[in-house]
Symmetry: C2
Subunit: 222 residues, 2 copies
């Protein structure tokens, strides 16, 4: 195998690890949402226990990238890909942390549900948007198909809208669940919103690498 | 000048940029706290306007690191320093964002104060802890004196304690400021707490680089 072929194989392994991470943090978020909606303690515990695995994936990618740079001394685009991979891994790790925060909130309020009955629908939609955005982020990483960036931006806008909607609900004069539930809802909602932000920032990185230009798209800022 | 001397000079420039970033995000946080405590709109606007400068510092450091790797092809410890610098710059950028979030909250509630009078003291202390932790983080980066890590961990513990204290206050039956103020206080408090977390994570990175071992210290997790 030529040097270049060995190198491309190593780079492709990093790419597969990143795609694997999107699956892991996607699963974590799905389970966290389910744990939240059903006040399911064992599912919440599973998400919390599994976060260490996600952190290990991140360290593994960092080590792989480090070895690649040290041994292969890449330049130009190859180097941008590796440095981009490090930033992407960091964002994905943070997405795992946010899923864990949601699971911890479900665990803290157990056996009571952490959210009032009438908001279950909104959180279910947020969970769905999170699922869609991370799946597309994985596809962008796997295929370099940057046309998905517009879809991802739309999901992020939808998440922001849901986040604002929840604010309006907890601040309305008809809110009857008290301060603690309002704070729980606000923090949980923020975790979903940040999760989507990180997916957007991962997409931006891929777009920058693929096109060589910083992506400045509608609502991809922040 | 020898290759090595040129290289060391370039590395030292990256280091100085990182120290400069700690100063910028320290100033941003001080002003954001002041804007919050005094409902000072022009100070809040200044923090918000200046965040673009902090983002530019980050991109500048990324470019410098990229060029260093591409041109000098560092290995081993030198490479770890550069990859560490990229992660540190990302954390510092995020600290700037958190200061901006606080300034935006102050602006949103202007001309009303964003926090009730009786919590001004607690937020002033949080601002002081943020100031201390970022100053020491800058010193760790500048001097590689990892003995400061214990101090930084203590500041972070203090911040966590203040964060919990504010939760207790907004959830107490005597809380008389309503749901909106409770949510404002919770989010603001979380921004300070996350700011300290990022300072800890920067310190961890420096410790890892200096000692070659991951730092596993009391309350330096998370």
């Amino acid at each position: 195998m030529s040097m270049r072929a060995a190198y491309d194989e190593a780079l492709s392994a990093v790419n597969q690890d990143l795609v694997q991470m999107t699956r892991s943090v996607g699963t974590a978020m799905n389970r966290a949402t389910q744990a939240l909606l059903d006040a399911d303690l064992s599912l919440a515990e599973a998400v919390i226990a599994n976060d260490a695995q996600i952190d290990l994936l991140t360290s593994g990618i960092e080590e792989r990238c480090f070895d690649l740079v040290a041994l292969q001394q890449p330049v130009a685009r190859d180097l941008r890909i590796i440095i981009g991979a490090l930033r992407i891994a960091a964002s994905l790790e943070r997405m795992g942390d946010l899923a864990e925060h949601i699971a911890k909130q479900a665990r803290m309020r157990y056996p009571k549900p952490a959210i009032p009955q009438e908001l279950r629908g909104t959180f279910a939609v947020m969970g769905g948007v999170a699922e869609a955005i991370v799946a597309k982020t994985g596809a962008v990483i796997a295929t370099n198909d940057v046309s998905l960036a517009a879809d991802i931006a739309r999901h992020d806008e939808e998440m922001d809208r849901l986040h604002r909607e929840l604010f309006t609900i907890v601040l309305s004069p008809t809110w009857s669940h008290g301060v603690e539930a309002a704070i729980d809802v606000t923090l949980l909602s923020r975790y979903y919103e940040r999760y989507a932000d990180h997916a957007v920032s991962v997409t931006k990185r891929v777009v920058t690498i693929v096109t060589g230009e910083p992506y400045v798209g509608v609502s991809l800022e922040g």
